[in-house]
Subunit: 376 residues, 2 copies
């Protein structure tokens, strides 16, 4: 599988939803496979909050990890790189090389830190639109995105429907919800409680690893369902040892959380990027500039596969169904698959088996001929 | 209503479940109403995690608040002080005057801090048993407890069934659950992330208010149901202002969380006490020393009212039902009322209306004649 790592400097400044602008914008990206001569086999893959553009392949730097969706991408896999040209951009505001709070502010020569402007999901998509054009692609075979990547996919469907040949959206809804906004607020507070965070100016000092660890262990209470935690750990002690009556880790679930905490601090997450990306999600509401979701998607006619997990209480299936209901009256070919998995929100990453055949069939075109007509 | 504030020094040392012992134990308590000459009208009221013995009446000190269950307690109220003598002890390990981590360790002359031994729900009940005896009460008309107070009520029913004339348990289950253990672990980590916490030795320095604030705002994500947060705040901005695209509080839910955070820091919570009390909950499993919950409650025959809230996902109704199922085969008069409230876990405190008539009827004896025989 051919892997290319690249970065694009956008032509000119990028004006943001807030009215502010960024004078220099880079978008880092990876591609897998080869673009066909007709330039019609491109899949735009959009990553979630804590991932980046390294979706496939082995780790490629010291602190790196293997591709976050290796199971899905490769020769003969559901996203078949013998057939498709996969583009995975690092989102604006992130920490994988695209412009974000850790980038150098050309006005000061220092890292932006908290002087970076607030960005939105639509801003991320505006930058991606330029990337696709720069790669000479007019129309994508498909867009695929989960969670924050799913929000971006919805914005693509709303703003650039002519570019979207089909779309797969996993574990995402037409807008954020109150509980998630509350959660992001708490997670940002956890990060900022670390003195090393230093109001965002930590790039020349120690990293706020403690804050990242606290954020990650708090987040784990939400990504995983109550049922998944129960099944996996129950009330067992570590190694089934007799009770010691201590404040040190005693239960298996505590050992798990301690590991989540350590790993977050040791990873390549950037605290400020998480602050800005979660804020972008807070502002996500597909229908903000419209009366309804149906209006926001009025120009979208391509096939759409929605996938949700019954155990995902971050973005519940019934809320995701709003998208289906918005498109069905126009006979857009939309399907909503509700999968079972004990994992909850992260299931598309950690429990790929249920999704694999559905994704494979959809991308190979079973659904893609029917622009505007509904299969029966 | 007659309110008495008092404190009992237990006779001798208290041996704990861990095998350690506390040489000097005080239990602070309040009483409302008057004990009848026959000493048969006492109700033992057991408070939850962040409450204390001040269940009824106006604030009585500078940082104080009004009684946490004023709605329920008083002349003519559901817990009618014209009729009942209500005893509300501050639990062992807490911050209302009972012995806990902020108490002076007689061995060193300094506050215990994190040198306080780990305690259990059963240890709390052992101290309460001595308090009841010291008040000259052999048998309680009723025990009433919610959440952590409900765990204590279950231990009373298991260990001292001869003392329990009836019991009301609200929003509690026969054991803790994995997700709660995970939550307490995260909340303790949030507290301890505050440098002012200082390994628990903060009594001579600044209070860890920031840690308490972070704990409280994280907890708010759990006490309240997802639905309650949605109904109350939605995605509204503060005062419905136009979007400002800022990291400052922008949404109504953020303003709410900021208030929760400020109030926690300004209240009279003690960080170390919360650490020890949540740890006690981690160890709670009514059937730990038995094969089953039914065995743990084998000697209990008095009427029991269980109350849960359909929206409480901390202690779900179906898990609470285990208690009912354990008692029904022996025809113990047990009833499980599942109430609706948008509030979730804290509903018995903040949305008392649904509970009021049920509690009133039960305590006034509609259920209490039937020791061992089931009403039809």
């Amino acid at each position: 599988m051919k892997i290319v790592r690249d970065r694009l400097r956008l032509a000119g400044a990028l004006t943001l939803a807030s009215g502010q602008s960024l004078s220099e914008v880079d978008i880092a990206f990876e591609t897998y496979g080869a673009l066909s001569p007709a330039r019609d086999n491109a899949i735009l893959l959009l990553h979630g909050l804590t991932a980046d553009q390294h979706a496939a392949g082995p780790p490629w730097h010291e602190k790196g990890r293997a591709g976050w969706w290796n199971q899905a991408i490769g020769p003969g896999r559901a996203i078949d790189t013998d057939r498709f040209f996969v583009i995975c951009p690092n989102v604006l505001g992130s920490f994988g090389g695209s412009t974000g709070p850790m980038s150098r502010d050309p006005a000061t020569g220092r890292a932006y830190g908290m002087r970076f402007p607030v960005i939105t999901i639509a801003d991320m998509v505006a930058a991606q639109r330029q990337l696709i054009a720069a790669l000479g692609i007019e129309r994508l075979h498909a867009i695929v995105g989960g969670c924050m990547g799913g929000f971006q996919a919805f914005e693509w469907m709303s703003r650039h429907p002519e570019c979207v040949g089909s779309a797969v959206v996993i574990s995402a809804t037409a807008r954020t919800n109150t509980h998630n906004t509350a959660l992001w607020s708490v997670l940002r507070a956890a990060l900022m409680s670390d003195p090393a965070w230093n109001d965002g100016d930590y790039y020349d000092g120690p990293s706020p690893d403690a804050g990242l660890g606290l954020l990650a262990m708090t987040g784990a209470l939400f990504w995983m369902s109550r049922e998944a935690l129960h099944e996996k750990f129950g009330l067992r002690t570590i190694e089934n040892r007799p009770l010691r009556y201590t404040l040190e880790p005693e239960f298996a679930i505590e050992e798990f959380l301690a590991r989540v905490r350590r790993n977050a601090g040791a990873g390549n997450l950037d605290a400020n990027a998480l602050i800005y990306l979660t804020r972008a999600i807070d502002y996500f509401d597909l229908s903000r500039e419209y009366d309804t979701v149906a209006e926001a998607l009025a120009r979208y006619t391509s096939p759409l596969l929605l996938v949700s997990y019954a155990t995902d209480w971050r973005y519940p299936s019934q809320e995701m169904n709003e998208i289906r209901e918005a498109l069905e009256p126009r006979s857009v070919p939309v399907r909503h698959e509700i999968l079972d998995s004990p994992i909850g929100h992260g299931a598309f990453l950690y429990d790929f088996n249920g999704l694999e055949p559905i994704l494979r069939t959809f991308l190979s075109g079973d659904f893609s001929g029917g622009r505007g007509d509904r299969p029966t």
